[in-house]
Amino acid sequence: MNDTPEIFQEIKDLIANNDVVLFMKGTAILPQCGFSGFVAQVLKRLNVPFKDINVLERNDIRQGIKDYTNWPTIPQLYVKGEFIGGADIVRDMLKSGELVQLFEKQGLGTLADNPLTTA
């Protein structure tokens, strides 16, 4: 592991300065991986603004975020500084309603007339 304090600080700052951060493969507009694309799509559908960090362009962050979070896979979703999970957990939480609740509680996104959240 060759993470530098600078990388951890950069990650800390990203997470602190943005309500929602998605560390992903590719970009929100052009995801390079199905799992990453899925989480980006969920955030867009829930109207949750987020900062996308393309780890494919930053190898240091790609490894750094795995060490920082102690989580071996990408994508990684952070909401208000807290690690929520990867694609599997996001999918689970979306199904159970917990994800929408989480964003509601944090004052993020919109629920009105959203096919994802209405029965």
């Binding site: 799992f35 102690n70 989580w71 071996p72 896979t73 690690f83 999970g85 990867g86 694609a87 599997d88 957990i89 689970d92 939480m93």
Partner: protein, 84 residues
């Protein structure tokens, strides 16, 4: 480099002896899997912690052999008989 289903299951069961592991290959090539792991070891743990337990079990292969690993964890209900 690919890894056989049996090896993945064995690694998980080594860490979580009562685990029921269901593995579905997502692609040809034995390096993309979808796994469902059911174990009583997940009791009292949130999703993140449950997943971390499984990731710990696979530590040796996660960064090298497994390319994509989709995970679902469930708590083994106490009333289910494990060995009988």
């Amino acid at each position: 480099m690919a890894i056989a289903q049996e090896e993945i299951k064995a690694l998980i069961i080594k860490q979580l002896p009562d685990a029921k592991v269901d593995l579905v290959p997502l692609k040809e090539g034995n390096d993309h899997y979808q796994a469902t792991v059911i174990s009583s070891a997940f009791k009292g743990l949130g999703r993140l912690q449950q997943h971390r337990l499984v990731y710990q079990a696979l530590e040796g292969i996660l960064h090298s052999t497994l390319h994509a690993f989709s995970l679902k964890t469930e708590l083994l209900a106490e009333k289910d008989p494990i060995h009988e």
